[in-house]
């Protein structure tokens, strides 16, 4: 067993964990009793997607995935803020 194999197995395990986490988020997104539950689940889903992109970057040894993760983090923040504002005020831009 080489060090590369160890990291390969760890990335596989972490990928399975994060995909399971995304499934749990999706369940909460679908059954969420109130709208704020769904927004919270969507925010967590954005975060899990960012982690997924980072881990694929380690897996394939490529720096391109880092930029994708950065953009996913930015878009997730903005979209969650817009949704929370919509829940509070009924419109995003007043």
């Amino acid at each position: 067993m080489t060090p590369g194999t160890l990291v390969f197995l760890a990335i596989g395990f972490a990928l399975v964990c994060v995909v399971l986490a995304m499934m749990l988020c999706t369940v909460r997104l679908l059954i969420g009793p109130s709208a704020q539950d769904r927004v919270l689940a969507l925010d967590t889903l954005w975060m899990c997607t960012m982690l997924l992109a980072l881990m694929l970057g380690i897996r394939y040894g490529s720096q391109v995935y880092f930029e994708a993760a950065l953009i996913i983090a930015l878009l997730g923040f903005v979209s969650t803020i817009a949704l929370a504002k919509f829940l509070m005020r009924g419109e995003v831009i007043e």
């Binding site: 060090p3 590369g4 760890a10 395990f13 994060v18 899990c48 980072l54 380690i58 509070m88």
Partner: protein
Amino acid sequence: MNGAGLPWWAAVTVTFLLVLGGLITLIGTLGLLRLKTFYQRIHGPAITITLGAGCILLASMVYFTVTQARPVIHELLITAFVLMTAPVVAMLIMRAAVYRDPQSGAAPVVQLDAEAPSRARDVGGRPTEGRS
């Protein structure tokens, strides 16, 4: 396999951080699914965002620093951004929930009010005993 020239200490560190990050991410979203009221559920993703993302970002930093033989720390950008924006997002969603709950006549706020007097008595009782 691109991590062929990786030394053992780096491989063990990256493995530890990745396993820890994956498990913590899973635990946080499990809390999002299993907890009962919205005000309890909002604490689950906080674990995912801070500790889970922190561990995986640290693993990425260690891996690329070792494999490219130069400091690769631009993951700090994501770390700083996520740590700065997570409280803002949590506060806005919480405010939206507090604003919307009385309108929809939902149970959580009422339940918390019903439990509040006993807790307040417990918390308020101890300092007076300590003082006397």
